[in-house]
């Protein structure tokens, strides 16, 4: 194929953003959109004459118009949409959280692997410039053997009492702080350290929401004796913008990273990498972060371009594979089951 034909299922906020990003890619031809809102389809139909519009995603998947789809429906629908896509031989980029049960996640991972279809979940921080640098430093073992990690994700997403409206206010639909934010942190830990061996010390608490949790915590144990604390709170009204912070403590040093940059502490000078003893601070705007088309951050663009590229080249994506997202799903459900 000389161009990947892509469709989007679900034109909510993520679908709208993803369309803009991936449509800028010269190797992509956008061919189809599915959304249950006829209001939405009618509004855009006139301006996108070459794109077919469907009110039912099944018609899109049956149309023969797409090689790949970007799935941005409510999370509770991901399973049925992805499953049908696999049956039709269509590659999938699926928004997070991947599914609403570990069994479904596992079934989809098996299915896509059997069929050899490109699969990726929108755990976008794997494409963040700072956290990529952290991964690189961990792989270089700059801080020696990693002992402990403290990871926090804080935001003011829910800062007043919530009327129970919309799919995000129900856990069975994929709502709550653990799905919304915890999943990102758990996936970053998967990116750094692989699958956790044990999930202990979990808790969930509410501040404003009635049906879902606003605060969520877990302690994770990884191979090689790495322990981690994960804390998320989407009702922390002191944060105007979401703040994802990770401290990694190793035998030879420490890494402190957030979305604004990182600080590295080394107990001894590292001549091989030209790094001094003590602290080295690097703000994110000093890190090279090339991006072909910016809409909502370099990581959003780079994750979708990677997906399109993988489909075009018929190779595995560097993003979060369905198989890895199964692990994250299991951690999330252990937190739910324990509380």
């Amino acid at each position: 194929m000389d161009k990947v034909r892509i469709g989007i299922i679900g034109m909510g906020r993520m679908g709208i953003t993803h369309y803009s990003i991936i449509n800028s890619n010269p190797a992509v031809k956008m061919t189809a959109i599915a959304d249950t809102s006829s209001l939405m389809l009618n509004m855009i139909r006139k301006y996108l004459p070459d794109v077919s519009m469907f009110e039912d995603y099944k018609d899109l998947l049956n149309s023969g118009l797409v090689d790949a789809v970007i799935v941005c429906t409510p999370s509770v629908m991901h399973y049925e949409v992805c499953k049908m896509a696999a049956e039709k031989g269509i590659c999938v980029f699926c928004e997070k959280p991947f599914t609403t049960s570990p069994a479904q996640a596992r079934e989809l991972a098996d299915l896509f692997e059997q069929k050899g279809l490109v699969n990726q979940v929108g755990y976008v921080y794997r494409f963040d410039v700072v956290f990529n640098k952290v991964k690189e430093m961990l792989d270089q073992q700059l801080i020696g053997k990693v002992c402990h990690v403290n990871a926090m994700f804080l935001s003011s997403t829910i800062s007043k009492m919530q009327p129970e409206k919309g799919w995000r206010s129900k856990r069975e639909n994929g709502g709550g702080a653990t799905y919304e934010m915890g999943s990102h942190v758990i996936d970053l830990m998967e990116f750094f350290f692989g699958k956790p061996q044990k999930v202990i010390g979990t808790l969930m608490n509410q501040v404003y929401s009635e049906a879902v949790e606003d605060i969520s915590e877990a302690q994770l144990m990884y191979e090689g004796g790495v322990s981690a604390n994960i804390h998320v709170n989407w009702s922390d009204y002191t944060y105007r913008k979401p703040m994802l912070k990770i401290d990694i403590h190793g035998t030879k040093g420490k890494i402190q990273a957030d979305l604004y940059g990182y600080r590295l502490f080394l107990r001894e000078e590292n001549k091989e990498h030209g790094l001094p003893e003590g602290w080295t601070s690097v703000p994110m705007n000093m890190l090279p972060d090339p991006c072909p088309f910016y809409v909502r951050g370099t990581s959003f663009t780079n994750q979708l371009y990677e997906f399109a590229d993988a489909v075009l080249a018929g190779r595995k994506s560097r993003g979060c594979a369905f198989r890895e997202a199964v692990d994250t799903q299991e951690v999330i459900h252990t937190i739910f089951d324990n509380n």
């Binding site: 803009s20 939405m40 703040m243 705007n285 000093m286």
Partner: protein, 294 residues
């Protein structure tokens, strides 16, 4: 096309926007929570020779505009470069309610002043289903109201919106936006973008000119997509009678010195620089450093 001001004073410092440090951003938010402190900075900027300001239509801009209107004799000569909309407002509302209810709220709630009855006359449902362009006009009108009575030279669309729409590759939206701004408000249409070469290429392809394009341009290459080299090529080839180019983020959020920054900026074919600063010394040194050719 009317010439834009060489130096424009921006507003990021007032609203806690700092790409490098959240702590610094919070400190600024606190200081400028008091509007007197904002006007102290403006007065310093005007003392240093600044004659133009850029202001985003965020929740605090109304009070700032009121203050400028109330002191028209003092600030009468000022040229305005507002930018719309305030993206966070829409992002939060869309998250909470969904897109159409959010747009509907913006257009029809809390807007009893300033001719909203006339807007309702244009019809809600019809707007959504039949005429996205009318919806865009109404959203512009709502945002623009805040700047009434000020001497606006150019109205900018924020990069979050410009770049989102740009990705859809729809000529009519840009054509209609530019025409509407020119005809209804008699000001220059402006577009803020983080993809300047791509945007300019599209505008040329569509035959849309007479536009002011504002984008990050700095020696560090920060927020210049797809690359600094591509920006340099496009800037060198630009015809300012068709597109006037304004540089923002010239200090790359503090990752380079003022000297490094302007050694670079002054050598480029640019028509304007927008910058923000909060100390008088910093404002003065920046104004003196801007030596782009007129």
């Amino acid at each position: 096309m009317e010439k834009i001001d060489r130096i424009v004073f921006g507003d990021n410092q007032f609203f806690g926007i700092n790409h490098r440090s959240q702590e610094k951003a919070e400190e600024m938010l606190k200081r400028f929570g008091n509007i007197d402190n904002i006007f102290e900075v403006y007065d310093n900027a005007f003392d240093c020779g600044v004659k133009a300001v850029m202001l985003n239509s965020n929740e605090r801009a109304e009070a700032i505009c009121d203050c400028f209107r109330a002191n028209k004799s003092k600030y009468g000569e000022l040229a305005w470069y507002p930018s719309i909309p305030y993206p966070y407002k829409y992002a939060n509302m869309v998250n909470e309610k969904g897109i159409f209810p959010a747009v509907s709220d913006v257009l029809f709630k809390g807007n009893s002043a300033g001719g909203v009855l006339g807007m309702i006359g244009k019809g809600t449902a019809a707007v959504f289903t039949r005429d996205a362009m009318r919806m865009m006009e109404m959203l512009i009108d709502v945002e623009y109201k805040m700047f009434r009575g000020l001497d606006v030279k150019c109205l900018f669309l924020q990069n979050v919106i410009t770049d989102l729409i740009l990705g859809y590759n729809i000529k009519e939206v840009f054509e209609h936006y530019c025409e509407y701004i020119r005809k209804k408000y008699k000001v220059l249409p402006g577009l803020i973008t983080l993809n300047m070469p791509y945007l300019k290429g599209k505008l040329e392809e569509w035959g849309i000119d007479g536009v002011v394009i504002c984008s990050s341009i700095n020696a560090a290459g920060f927020n210049m997509h797809p690359s600094k080299e591509e920006y340099e090529r496009v800037i060198a080839e630009n015809d300012p009678s068709k597109y006037q180019l304004m540089a923002m983020n010239v200090l790359a959020s503090g990752s380079i010195t003022v000297r490094q920054s302007f050694d670079y900026i002054n050598g480029l074919n640019l028509q304007s620089v927008v910058f923000g600063a909060s100390s008088k010394a910093h404002i003065k040194s920046t104004v003196e450093s801007i030596q782009i050719k007129d």
